[in-house]
Amino acid sequence: MSRILELKGISKAFGGLQVIDGLDLHVDEGEIVSVIGPNGAGKTTLFNLITGVYQPDRGDILLEGESLLGLLPHKITQRGVARTFQTLRLFLNMTVKENVMAAAYGRTRAGVVRSILRTPGMRREEREISALAEEKLAFFGQRLMGYRWNQPAYSLSYANRRRLEIARATATGPRVLLLDEPAAGMNPKETYEITELIAQLRTEGGYTILVIEHDMHVVEGISDRVVALDHGIKIAEGTFEAVATDPRVVEAYLGTKAAATK
């Protein structure tokens, strides 16, 4: 398997706070890698560094061997890295279908003039992204179909918003999908569904997936490999069993015995 995403010794500090410290991480093609760690471990910052929201202070980020450093976020997305957000960031006042169609911006070409003139090429492109949006929404069964297409995104339930975020991210045509806590705020049944779904994203969509998750059942169910972070440092890496029983991981989550008895 080939390396699709590789982070080499990246560091990021906000003022005096070292959020990510010399982190090495790689994701192979077709792999599902989970990133776990207590709150404030630097997981979301990691995503922000990969997607270009922040620039790392040191180190390099490679997508299929090419550096992503210095690229604007929309360029990185166009190269094939799409993400969802922990705190949902949908286009709330646009319709469900428009949310997905808007994300296809990077794979369409029709400019302003062609849009005003409604050239045949532009209309074909519109039909294509309309079909694309419907296809991406159909991935979630009936939940985001039919009458939902023309409803504003704010009318969706929390779980459906998470699904719509995933649909929107896949509409950008990514190779690597970064999912930031996809199961947060979901009930057990929905959590189970999302676990199935992430596996399906790989088998049916062909995406390589890097996921941040707190729910250990989800992590256990989906991960080929688990990476544990604490204070911006990788403290463990390997299979779920190996990482979950690693004493340093347990310590990061629960504290040491010495600290507990103090």
Binding site: R89, A102, A103, A104
Partner: protein, 485 residues
């Protein structure tokens, strides 16, 4: 209801769907007009556009008054401005307070290119094309330094730009150029530029006001079609996406900075184009045409009509400009005032018995107050009511002193207090206080406001905005937007 779809063990979306459609169900209008509403909602946008343009084009045949036609032209120009501002504010969500500067820039540039100021007299089509391109470029220039600014910061920077524009237009009549001896007059200073060539296209010269109405309606139709198409293209979707969440838009592959600049350029080009028509129909441009009051008016139109909605901002422009014109004439203003109060009462006061009680109480209150005033001091009721229709009806009801200024002012302050008290009270006390408040409003109206129409117009426009905005914060045709859920 038909069988709901879904996997046997999966959740049924039937309930979900029913909840989601509650708005739709409650929005169904009853009554005799229901089929009409339903039909109006099914009309395609181009049919509405054709109807609006067609009806407006008939104005010169309905009224031969040049004033009426001129108001129609101004309304179309305002609608164009509102459409341009809607791109920047309604779609891209950029609070651009420098918008009217582009309008002024377009008007002045057209004036410079097609008047005796520099004896250029370019053909109209050439001038207009130059103006559109230059306005778009100016929009780009303004956008470049401010594209990283959002919200309040962008507002301040663009407001500064608008003010610079007015100062430049007022003072660019004595510019020292290195290749010219003595100061050069570029903008005509406070006196502006006059004797602008009328627009002529392919030999047809637009000479009369009515021909300008048709010209501006033609431009309006083209602009609406272009904007409608843009709105339903990837660019339009991207604009609305960046308004909703610019970071998410950027991360969903949309080049946010470029899209912001594009929105600025679009707004600026529309404003510049509108400016050329304004300059040629007015045959002159003056700095005060493009000052803050205009900015506020255009913003009011966009917000009142519903930012983001094409028919909304057009209706906003019509409502505000036509009301402002109607309020110029005291007789019209009086009619409008009482009709507005009557409509407000009818729509807001329920049940009918309460409404009837308030109306009877209001008439009785007036008669008693009048008799009391006459008995106390005859001078309080011997002033004249400003002429016009319906003035006679009010005699014997509303107090009208000989010297109305002082009593009127006192009444005005009392009215403000009463209105404030009204918002705090509940139940029966509110209904009881409503009667003297309404009477007081009529008193202040007849004694102070009717005699000073210029102040009244603005005051009433403000009141209209306050009432409409608290009734429908999303604007007349806007869709209510959710910021945080």
């Amino acid at each position: 209801m038909s069988e709901v779809e879904g996997t046997p063990e999966g959740p049924k979306i039937g309930v979900d769907e029913w909840v989601a459609r509650s708005e739709e169900r409650s929005g169904v209008r009853g009554g005799r007009l229901a089929p009409l509403y339903a039909r109006a909602e099914r009309l395609p946008w181009w049919a509405l556009l054709a109807a609006a343009v067609g009806v407006s084009a008939l104005v010169p045949f309905i009224s031969s008054s040049d004033y009426v036609i001129r108001v129609a032209v101004n309304t179309v120009l305002f609608a164009l401005l509102a459409l341009g501002l809607n791109v920047v504010v309604g779609w891209a969500g950029l609070l651009d307070l420098g918008f009217v500067a582009f309008y002024g820039f377009g008007a002045y540039l057209y004036a410079l290119l097609s008047s005796s100021q520099f004896d250029l007299h370019f053909p109209a089509l050439l001038s207009v094309s130059i103006v559109i391109v230059s306005s778009a470029l100016l929009g780009l220039l303004l956008g470049l330094p401010s594209r990283r600014l959002v919200g309040d910061y962008l507002a301040i920077v663009t407001l500064f730009f608008a003010q610079i524009y007015v100062v430049l237009a007022t003072n660019a009549d004595r510019i020292t150029l290195p290749w010219n001896d003595g100061p050069t007059d570029i903008s005509g200073g406070p006196n502006g530029i006059t004797d602008i060539d009328p627009i002529s296209i392919l030999g047809y010269e637009f000479g009369s006001t009515r021909s300008y109405l048709w010209l501006s309606l033609g431009v309006f139709a083209v602009v609406v079609v272009a904007l409608q198409f843009i709105n339903h293209s990837r660019t339009g979707r991207a604009w609305r996406a960046l308004r909703e969440d610019s970071l998410a838009a950027e991360l969903m592959s949309m080049p946010v900075n470029r899209l912001k600049l594009l929105a600025f350029m679009f707004g600026a080009a529309t404003a510049g184009l509108t400016g050329t028509i304004f300059a040629s129909v007015q045959l002159g441009v003056f700095p005060q045409n493009f000052d803050l009051p205009l900015l506020i008016t255009v913003y009011a139109m966009v917000i009142l009509g519903g930012a983001g909605s094409i028919p909304g901002v057009v209706i906003g422009a019509i409502t505000i400009n036509v009301s402002l014109e109607l309020l110029r004439e005291p007789a019209n203003a009086r009619l409008l005032f009482y009709v507005a109060i009557g409509l407000g009462l009818v729509t807001l006061v329920r049940p009918w018995r309460k409404l009837a009680a308030i109306c009877v109480g209001l008439v009785a209150f007036g008669i008693v107050a009048y008799q009391l005033a006459e008995w106390l001091r005859p001078a309080w009721v011997s002033g004249t009511i400003e002429g016009g229709r319906f003035a006679g009806l009010l005699d014997g009801w509303v107090i009208h002193p000989v010297d109305s200024t002082h009593l009127g002012n006192a009444g005005f302050i009392l009215l403000i207090v009463a209105v404030l008290a009204l918002t705090e009270l509940r139940g029966i006390w509110r209904s009881i206080l409503l009667v003297p408040t309404l009477y007081l409003a009529a008193f202040v109206w007849e004694n102070r406001l009717v005699v000073e129409p210029s102040v009244t117009r603005i005051l009433l426009l403000g009141a209209l905005l306050v009432v409409l905005m608290s009734w429908r914060p999303q604007g007349l045709l806007g869709t209510s937007r959710v910021e945080i859920v």
